[in-house]
C-alpha cells in the first residue's frame, strides 16, 4: 500500500480530472512524483486578470494533508497577495498558528478538509478580490488602493504576456 499522502493526492488528482472546476487545470508534473504539481489558472472574468492563463506549481509536503502545500506562480505576477517571486500568500495555505502576516483569521486556515481544488478556487477569488491588508507585495497593495488604473494596466500587460501576445 502506498503512503497515505500519496493515496490522497492520487484521489484528488482523479477527482480533479473527472470533475474539473471551471478555468482550472491541475495535475502532477510527472506521474512518478505526485508531490509536485503544475496548475493553470484562468483569470476570473470581469476582473483586470480576465483572459490570462497563469501557470503555477504546487509543492506538497510529505505529510500532506496534515500540512498545506506551497504554491508559486511560475509567470510574472503583480498582485497584493503574491510575492514578487510568485509565492502565493493566502490564509488557506497557512496552518493556524503559522502566521507570516499576523492578521489572518483562523477560520480560513489550512486543515485536511481543504484540498487542491479549494486552494485553486481561493486563488481565483484572490485574483478577483485582492486582500490589500496582506502585504506580500506592498507596492502592488499600495497601487491597488491608490492607483487602480495603473494597477489594471500592469495586470493587462501580464495577461498579454501569459498569452504570448506582444505588449
Amino acid at each position: 500500500m502506498a503512503g497515505s499522502a500519496l493515496r490522497r493526492l492520487m484521489a484528488e488528482y482523479k477527482q480533479l480530472t473527472l470533475n474539473p472546476p471551471e478555468g482550472i487545470i491541475a495535475g502532477p508534473i510527472n506521474e512518478e512524483n505526485f508531490f509536485e504539481w503544475e496548475a493553470l489558472i484562468t483569470g476570473p472574468e470581469g476582473t483586470c486578470f480576465e483572459g490570462g492563463v497563469f501557470p503555477a506549481k504546487l509543492i506538497f509536503p510529505p505529510d500532506y494533508p496534515l500540512s498545506p502545500p506551497k504554491m508559486q506562480f511560475t509567470c510574472e505576477m503583480f498582485h497584493p497577495n503574491i510575492y514578487s517571486d510568485g509565492r502565493v500568500c493566502i490564509s488557506i495555505l497557512h496552518a493556524p498558528g503559522d502566521d507570516p502576516m499576523g492578521y489572518e483569521s483562523s477560520a480560513e486556515r489550512w486543515s485536511p478538509v481543504q484540498s487542491v481544488e479549494k486552494i485553486l478556487l481561493s486563488v481565483v477569488s484572490m485574483l478577483a478580490e485582492p486582500n490589500d491588508e496582506s502585504g506580500a507585495n506592498v507596492d502592488a497593495a499600495k497601487m491597488w488602493r491608490e492607483n487602480r488604473e495603473e494597477f489594471n494596466r500592469i495586470a493587462e500587460r501580464i495577461v498579454r504576456r501569459t498569452l504570448g501576445i506582444p505588449t
Partner: protein
C-alpha cells in the same frame, strides 16, 4: 556540458605535463621525479586527480541512483556546501597533520557523506512515488550494504589507529563514520518499514508510530555520539567548532522527535479513552468518507464530540499537530477528560438507542439535584428515597424520549448555535457527578444538632477547630453546588432559547410527577421553567417579577403561595431551603 569541457581541458593539461616530462627525461623514474619536483606540474596532477574523483563519484551515483531529481540535487548541493565549510574548519584544528593523504581522506569522507544523504532522500521518496521498480530495491539495498560496510571498516580502522598510535585526526574520522553508520541503520529501518507498507494490501496504521520511535532512538544515539565527541575533543585538542552546526541540528531533531513521541502518545491516549468508536450505523449514516485521507471508512473510526467521524489512524496523526476537529475546528482539548469519559460510559449503555445528546437533553434537572442526592444519603425516609431513586434511574430514559422528538430539528439548530456547551464549563453535560461521590452533610437545622455537636463546635481545642472547619467546608461545597446549579440553569435556558420547544417535551415531567410523590414533582419543577417558558427564560434570571410569576405558574401547588415580587434567585433559594426543611420536619 561545462563539466565535460573542464575534464577535457584537464586531461589535455595532464597529457601535456606528462609528455613534457617524458620528453625531457626519456625514462620513467626521472620523469616522475621531475613532475613531483615541479610545482606547476603537481598542481595539474592534483586537479586531474580531483576531477577523476569527481568523475568516479558521478559514475557511482549513476549506478546507484540513476538520474537525480531536482529536489535531490538541490538538497545535495546545500548540504555539501555546509560539509565543505565544516571540513575547512576541521583543517584548522589539525593543521599539523595536514598532508595530501589527509586531504584525500576528507574528500573520501565528503563523498561517502553525500551518498548517505542521497540514500536518505531516495528512501524518503519511496513514500511518494506510485512506481517503485525492482531496480529501485536492488539499488537501495546494495547501496546500503556498501555504505554500511565501508562505514564499519572506517570506524574500526580509526579505533585501532587511535588505540595504537594515540589520538590523531583519526578521531574525527572515527566519529564521523560512526555518525554515518547510525544514519545507514536509520535509513535501513525506514526502508524496511516502507517496504512492508508497500507490500501490504491495507494501509499500515502503526507505521507512523514505528517511524517516530526509530527517529527518537537514532536521535538519542547521535546526540550521545556528538556529546562524547565534543568532550573528547575538548580534552585532547580544542573546542571542535566544526561539529557545532551538525550537533545543534541533531539535538534539535532529537528534541523534535521527543516532542512528537509525547504528542503522539497523548493523541493515542486521547483517542483510546475520550472518543467513542463510530458504530456501523453512524458510518452508514454519515458521508462515510474520511475527510483526512478521502477514503471510505469501514473500520477503526472515531467520533469526536462534535459528531464528526474520522479514521482512527488519520485522526491520530492529525492530533499530533493540532488538537482540533479537522472539519469544524472545535478545540477538543477544551472538553475535559473526565467529562468525556463519563459521556462515553453513558453512551455505551444505551448504545442501541440513538445516542442521547446530552446538550439537547431538556431536563437536566430531574436527575441532577445535588441536594436531592444529599437528602437521599442522609434521610432514611423511604417515601422520599424510593421515588428519588426512581427519578435517577429514569434519568437515562426520560432523556431519550424528548431527545428523539427534538433531535431532527435540534441537531441542525445545535450546529448553528455552534455547540455552545463547549464554551461552558466542562461539567456541562453531566454536571453533578462530582458530588455523587462526596456528599457533605448539610446542617439541616440547628435544632437537629445535639448539644454535644454544638459543644463540639465551640471551644478552642483542635477537634473544635476541625469541626468548625469541616462545617465551613460543607458550606463551601453546598455553595459550589448552588453555583453549579445556577450555571446549569442558565446554560440550559440559553440552549432552550435557541431552539423551538416541542409541546411534547413539556408533558414529560408531568408524567413523571404524576407517578412519583410530591417531592419529586417539586424537584422536576425547575425543568418546567425551562421548557414551558422559553420565551421568558432570560427574564427569569433578570429577576423580572412578572416572568418569575410566569415561570412558577406551572410549578407544584406549594409554589403558588410565594409572593409574586420575589426575584428568581430568591425563589430558587427559598425552594432549596424548603427542600432542606422538609426532611427535617418529617424526621421530627
Amino acid at each position: 556540458m561545462r563539466a565535460v569541457g573542464v575534464s577535457l581541458i584537464s586531461v589535455a593539461l595532464t597529457t601535456i605535463v606528462i609528455a613534457n616530462a617524458y620528453y625531457q627525461k626519456k625514462q620513467f623514474y626521472p620523469s616522475v621525479v621531475y613532475i613531483t619536483k615541479s610545482n606547476p606540474s603537481m598542481a595539474v596532477i592534483y586537479i586531474q586527480a580531483f576531477i577523476l574523483v569527481l568523475l568516479a563519484g558521478k559514475l557511482t551515483r549513476k549506478i546507484f541512483f540513476g538520474q537525480l531529481r531536482t529536489a535531490e540535487f538541490e538538497h545535495l548541493m546545500e548540504r555539501a556546501w555546509y560539509a565543505i565549510t565544516e571540513t575547512c574548519l576541521a583543517f584548522t584544528v589539525f593543521r599539523d597533520d595536514f598532508n595530501p593523504k589527509f586531504v584525500a581522506l576528507f574528500t573520501l569522507l565528503l563523498f561517502l557523506k553525500s551518498f548517505h544523504w542521497l540514500a536518505e532522500d531516495r528512501v524518503d521518496y519511496m513514500e511518494r512515488s506510485p512506481v517503485i521498480s525492482w531496480l529501485f530495491h536492488v539499488r537501495v539495498l546494495s547501496l546500503l550494504l556498501v555504505l554500511g560496510s565501508l562505514d564499519y571498516l572506517f570506524v574500526q580502522h580509526a579505533y585501532l589507529s587511535t588505540m595504537t598510535k594515540g589520538a590523531s585526526v583519526q578521531l574525527v574520522f572515527g566519529f564521523e563514520y560512526a555518525i554515518l553508520l547510525t544514519m545507514v541503520v536509520n535509513i535501513a529501518i525506514k526502508y524496511i518499514l516502507h517496504a512492508i507498507d508497500l507490500n501490504s494490501d491495507t494501509p499500515w496504521e502503526n507505521k507512523a508510530v514505528f517511524l517516530l520511535y526509530t527517529e527518537l532512538i537514532m536521535g538519542l544515539i547521535k546526540v550521545i555520539l556528538y556529546v562524547a565527541f565534543v568532550v573528547i575533543m575538548v580534552r585532547i585538542y580544542t573546542l571542535p567548532l566544526f561539529a557545532f552546526r551538525p550537533m545543534y541540528y541533531t539535538i534539535r531533531n532529537f528534541k523534535k522527535a521527543f516532542n512528537d513521541v509525547i504528542l503522539s502518545r497523548r493523541a493515542i491516549h486521547n483517542m483510546n479513552t475520550l472518543y467513542p468508536d463510530a458504530t456501523p450505523e453512524e458510518l452508514q449514516a454519515a458521508d462515510n468518507v474520511c475527510i483526512i485521507c478521502r477514503e471510505e471508512m469501514t473500520t477503526a473510526s472515531k467520533k469526536l464530540p462534535c459528531n464528526h467521524i474520522f479514521h482512527t489512524a488519520c485522526l491520530r496523526s492529525w492530533f499530533q499537530r493540532q488538537q482540533t476537529c479537522p472539519t469544524c475546528r472545535l478545540n477538543i482539548l477544551r472538553t475535559t477528560p473526565t467529562n468525556n469519559a463519563q459521556q462515553q460510559r453513558q453512551e455505551q449503555r444505551p448504545r442501541a438507542q440513538p445516542v442521547p445528546n446530552p446538550f439537547v437533553g431538556p431536563n437536566p434537572f430531574v436527575n441532577f439535584n445535588p441536594f436531592q442526592q444529599l437528602l437521599n444519603q442522609n434521610v432514611p425516609n423511604p417515601n422520599v428515597q424510593a421515588p428519588a431513586q426512581d427519578a435517577n434511574q429514569q434519568g437515562g430514559t426520560p432523556n431519550v424520549t424528548p431527545t428523539q422528538n427534538t433531535q431532527a430539528g435540534s441537531s441542525t439548530s445545535q450546529q448553528q448555535a455552534n455547540v455552545p456547551p463547549f464554551g461552558m464549563p466542562p461539567f456541562m453535560p453531566f454536571p453533578f457527578f462530582p458530588f455523587v461521590s462526596q456528599p457533605p452533610v448539610p446542617p439541616q437545622n440547628l435544632r437537629s444538632l445535639s448539644p454535644e455537636e454544638l459543644r463540639r463546635m465551640e471551644g478552642n481545642e483542635r477537634e473544635n477547630v476541625e469541626a468548625r472547619i469541616q462545617c465551613l467546608k460543607n458550606i463551601q461545597v453546598m455553595l459550589d453546588a448552588a453555583v453549579l446549579m445556577m450555571q446549569q440553569y442558565s446554560a440550559s435556558v440559553a440552549i432552550s432559547a435557541t431552539m423551538p420547544v416541542p409541546q411534547t417535551a413539556s408533558s414529560t415531567p408531568e408524567s413523571t410527577s404524576t407517578v412519583n410523590t410530591e417531592t419529586v414533582a417539586s424537584n422536576s419543577s425547575p425543568k418546567d421553567n425551562v421548557t414551558t417558558s422559553t420565551s421568558t427564560v432570560n427574564n427569569i434570571l433578570n429577576s423580572s417579577s412578572s416572568s418569575s410569576e410566569n415561570a412558577t405558574n406551572s410549578n407544584s401547588p406549594s409554589d403558588n403561595k410565594i409572593p409574586s415580587n420575589l426575584s428568581a434567585e430568591e425563589e430558587l433559594r427559598r425552594r432549596r431551603l424548603q427542600r432542606f426543611q422538609q426532611p427535617a420536619e418529617q424526621q421530627q
